[in-house]
């Protein structure tokens, strides 16, 4: 919401600037004004969306069942808590242990055996996560480790954030908890590990996107 408002506000200034000078529409077909109009329209649409649902939303179970019927490949069901969306994502690529899952709108999550490694297309993406706690989590062990999460800052550079994490069993049997702190914030990832694979989890993407819950529908 904040981001959406910023976008509109910023847009207002750009319209002003676009008017003064020569927006050198380099190669693309929509000019500065067109691009801004589009952006504003999208923002407006995004705001209206929750108020006027087009069709009665399918329940998460219905969506999962339908996806399993239609798509023969590996599937996960994810819930973006901050965005308030639950979606089914299908695997679109595999490179060794790394799997890329996408929504129909081509937003992506990248997982390594269920561990969140990156996101794409969400606006505040996690570029890459380097959890040195991964082995502990998979083994169901206890201990400490560091976790580096890389993000884009607004100036266009990839910047690392380091967190100190401790791993241990949670209050519920079978759940491993990774508690991390650093840079004035803290978060807690929960994993359900089965045979070294993370079958169900709730993991922190970053300061803006918050947590995502990931459930394996078909491994």
């Amino acid at each position: 919401m904040t981001a959406a408002r910023n976008c509109v506000l910023t847009g207002a200034l750009l319209a002003l600037l676009a008017g003064c000078g020569n927006g050198s529409g380099d190669e693309t077909d929509s000019g500065p004004l067109g691009a801004l109009a589009g952006a504003v329209a999208q923002t407006v649409a995004a705001r209206r969306a929750p108020e006027t649902p087009a069709a009665p939303p399918k329940s998460a179970q219905e969506a999962a069942a339908e996806a399993l019927r239609v798509n023969p490949g590996p599937l996960i069901q994810v819930g973006f808590e901050q965005l308030g969306r639950t979606q089914v994502m299908a695997m679109t690529g595999q490179n060794g242990a790394l799997r890329t899952y996408m929504t129909p709108a081509e937003e992506a999550l990248i997982l390594r055996g269920g561990m969140l490694v990156g996101t794409r297309g969400l606006g505040h993406d996690l570029s890459v996560a380097e959890p040195r706690t991964e082995a502990l989590i998979r083994a169901g062990g206890s201990g400490n480790g560091q976790r580096t999460m890389r993000y884009f800052s607004g100036d266009g550079l990839e910047r690392p954030l380091q967190f100190d994490c401790s791993v241990g069993p949670g209050p519920t049997a079978g759940i491993t908890i990774e508690s991390c702190a650093g840079h004035g914030t803290s978060f807690q990832n929960n994993y359900l590990v089965q045979g070294g694979q993370i079958a169900v989890s709730r993991q922190w993407i970053g300061p803006n996107l918050g947590y995502v819950t990931i459930q394996t529908l078909r491994p």
């Binding site: 904040t2 981001a3 910023n6 976008c7 506000l9 910023t10 847009g11 200034l13 750009l14 319209a15 600037l17 676009a18 008017g19 003064c20 000078g21 927006g23 050198s24 380099d26 190669e27 077909d29 000019g31 500065p32 004004l33 067109g34 691009a35 801004l36 952006a39 690529g93 595999q94 490179n95 060794g96 890329t100 081509e106 937003e107 990248i110 794409r120 969400l122 606006g123 505040h124 993406d125 570029s127 890459v128 890389r150 993000y151 884009f152 800052s153 607004g154 100036d155 266009g156 550079l157 990839e158 910047r159 690392p160 954030l161 840079h183 004035g184 914030t185 970053g206 300061p207 803006n208």
Partner: protein
Amino acid sequence: MRRSLLTRRLLATTLPAALVMGSVSSTAVADPMLARNLSSFGLPGGIDTPTAETLADGTLGASLSWSDYARRSNVLFQALPDLSVVLRYSRVEGINDFRGEGYISDRSLDLHYQLLDEQGWRPAVAVGLRDFLGTGVYSGEYIVATRNVTPAIRVSAGLGWGTLAGKPRTIDVADEGGTPNVDDWFTGGANPFGSVSWQVNDRLSLVAEYSNDTYLARYSNGREFQQGDAEPGSNLNLGAYYRLGRNYELGLYTIGGETFGAQFSLALNPREAPYPSGLEKAPAPVRPRPAPAADPDGWSGSWSQDPTAQPAIQKALGDAMAEEGQILEAMALSANRAEVRIRNQRYVNQAEAVGRTARLMSRALPPSVETLVITSTADGVPTSSVTLRRSDLERLENTEAGQIAAASLLSDAPAYAEGMVRSPGIYPRFRWNIRPYLDLGVFSAEDGLTHEVGAQARASYEIVPGLVLTGALRQRVFGNIDQRGPGIGLPGTRGQYYTPEEYLADPALETTPQGVPRVRSDTRMYTGNSSPTIPELTLAWYAKPTETVYTRVTAGLLERAYGGVSAEALWKPANSPLALGIEVNRVRKRDFDSLLDFRDYEVTTGHVSAYYEFAQGFTAQLDVGQYLAGDRGATVTLTREFANGWRIGAFATKTDLSAEEFGEGSFDKGISLSIPIGWATGQPTRDRAGTTLRSLSRDGGARLEVQDRLYDRVRESHSVRLYDGWGRFWR
């Protein structure tokens, strides 16, 4: 050399937390003391007085302040973490000049430098120069200290000179302004000033200040004016500022208790993008090769003997690249090496185009191809090549971007590469669009806000790579930017203009009384046409005679006011921060109807240029040569740019015209801004919004505005820009 550049540019990203965490409130990093509000002069301050605060590095701000004393439009740029610069356009009320309109228009420039940031018991300390180019209505200097007393209350105290001491200096009526009067600085007696600000809550802050400004203007011809209606009733000013969202602020204030004012300001921080990582669709992932046993033909390379292989692969790759906003212009393919020439039409950072192309190549090429060469092009001409090993691409997917950078090689791209096959159906290439346009004149205190609205059609026809025919047609619909002759420019006629009829009737008027040809000061003669105009109609040819030399020849109607031939050559190795260029133009002045006719004035103008890319996004440019009016001199341009594509620059030109010949302002100077639209919307696009703010449109130091000069086009894919944006390789 290359490695150290790399390390500097992308591995040393260690100032990170606050930038990414942004909204997480309790970042325990020692933030610099950031301003709560802008003063009526557009700088961190109280109401009229300055404070020792700064804005976040790189912030671009604008503010409008109205009161009975003045209407001020300020543009602020935090050029360095501790240096703020303000360009101000004011309508100063109560002063009568030759026009007798009861106000004057005034332009001024301020510098504000924070010497020390607050630390422990030590307050932040700043020093500043207000209206320091020549002696102006607002000229004064200060040194000020600011300290947080409680988290909510901040106190500033300082010493001011000039207007800030209530002792305005005498303004020399004969001075054209524009040059600093260093001898006057910090002289004439100082007086203390101070302010207290109380941050009531997240949005509201209240300010009280003690100011010495008497709002008096004294001129060397003995005349003296009280600005506004009267001297402030007391030294005490009060103000309230209310923040709207993250970027906007509204303020109400009183000067001395009797005069009231209002203020609106906004501040944009290039580091605070609404969608820092962009909203573009996720890239297609790398497809690792199958085991050799699973595809023995593909691994053996025998497929390369099949003449149908390359066309099929090139078609598939070209289609996939088109989906991601890029054109596969040509491809050379052998059993173990593939080179592609790409034209990036979508991404601000060339690294993102290169990274996406590399991944698509991993999906399209048979397994025996191990060496991937991705050659970027600009205007149909190859500019640089990135060479990667396919096994590195497979191994390093989803790792930090610096790793693939270290495993890749950037080199100059040859003009001709062996075996390069052009993709069919791409040339000739015809593009067109029709769009509304809006011209706004914001910063003219005399004219107020001016505008013109209309429609423009633009088409380009690229016959072969590098040979482009471009034309535009514009129709004004409505607006108040009317045709007007230039200022008369004789003593005692300041602010008076010729009518278009007077100006057209007497060709002798096309030279100023000081003998300078009117090359830009009659620019308003080109406006207000109610019939269609042709802003440009050119044939351009781009080429590359050697690996590191680029050329451009453009002929036709080059810009609104000039037509002719423009030729340019640029030496720019891909890994060099230094570039050298030369440009020669023979142009003739176009007729005021902006169609196909010309006027009599003809001139040869051209420059020798040196460009250098410093660290931290600063670039410098020096142009030496002959300008449009035949005057000779040099232009210095200093630009700051961010990896996300923001560019903010300042330039100054001094030629052999005397200050009297040049007129008000003494020499040409200005600020240019360019902001990628994608930064604001998150959508991937190379569109930009930009403008150039000049102090005045004058005839001295004027340059031809030819489109698509080589430097900015070529360097997009060269080391500094490419590696600055390399973080987007895996996007």
